[in-house]
């Protein structure tokens, strides 16, 4: 009994350690990937035709229809598997980073363990749903 509880606590703290590490790594990766998106979009003809809002939006989701009003030549430069995978990776980092953050905040404020478990389950379902939406938008809604 005691060893089981100890093992559960150990694996729990391992999970916390992994999520702590993931939060740091994904945060740094999101910044680098966002910077690369902006630089590449500007090199590919966005310079002078993208307004400030389009520049900032492009950082997060560099995929064809996101900033269709900016006159960047999308078809050869961004509608390809590399940028689809890039967007999916960036989005997966962001969604997981955010869902984990909400989990930590809930743990701070929700004292009732059963309510906390339900809320965590809801966060997990929302994470799955938003990942599904992103997969659809990246891979299926092309050219829509």
């Amino acid at each position: 009994m005691v060893t089981q509880a100890g093992a559960a606590r150990r694996s729990r703290s391992k999970f916390e350690l992994y999520m702590w590490f993931f939060t740091r790594v994904s945060g740094i990766f999101m910044m680098l990937m966002g910077a690369y998106s902006i630089i590449y979009a500007n090199l590919m003809g966005g310079r002078g035709v993208m307004d400030a809002g389009a520049q900032t939006r492009w950082a997060f989701f560099p995929i064809s229809f996101h900033v269709s009003s900016t006159k960047v030549e999308l078809t050869p430069n961004f509608q390809n598997p590399f940028w689809q995978f890039y967007s999916l990776l960036l989005f997966a980092f962001a969604a997981t980073h955010g869902a984990n953050g909400i989990r930590v905040i809930l743990k701070d404020y929700v004292r009732h363990p059963v309510l906390l478990a339900w809320l965590n389950a809801m966060v997990f379902v929302l994470w799955l749903a938003v990942m599904g939406a992103a997969v659809y938008l990246i891979f299926a809604a092309q050219g829509a």
Partner: protein, 132 residues
């Protein structure tokens, strides 16, 4: 772990944590804001493209025009930039703990970097300046 801490709202408001408390609070508000607004925007985009027409589209259109309104754009810009830069400061101080001697200076450096790269695009977005 605040599981055992019971702090009343007046007590919480009277707590004067200064700069570190402000950074923690803004980090948390910005994080929740990004999850709310960007998550909502992704779902709205999904409904716009996946279900052409129908009642879901009206809601998705309303959410999209809300997201694209200037105050929300400026807030999302603030949230993303502040959360990113503050997170970078935390990562750097965690990575090199000896730098904790200068943690106050690090906050001022953070503001010095944050304010120009937030305010210039924020003004351009708020004034609706178009290029090209």
């Amino acid at each position: 772990m605040s599981r055992s801490a019971r702090v009343s709202i007046p007590q919480a408001l009277a707590y004067r944590g200064g700069q570190p408390m402000l950074a923690w609070l803004l980090h948390r508000i910005a994080g929740i804001g990004i999850v709310l607004f960007v998550g909502m925007h992704v779902f709205a985009g999904f409904f716009l493209y996946a279900i052409p027409g129908g009642t879901a589209n009206t809601i998705a259109n309303a959410l999209t025009s809300f997201y694209e309104s200037r105050p929300v754009q400026v807030f999302v810009l603030f949230a993303v930039l502040y959360h990113g830069l503050n997170g970078l400061r935390i990562v750097v101080l965690d990575m090199w703990p000896s730098l904790h001697r200068y943690h106050r200076e690090a906050m001022w450096v953070q503001w010095a970097v944050f304010l120009p790269i937030f305010l210039i695009p924020a003004f351009l977005i708020a004034l609706g300046v178009k290029v090209g």
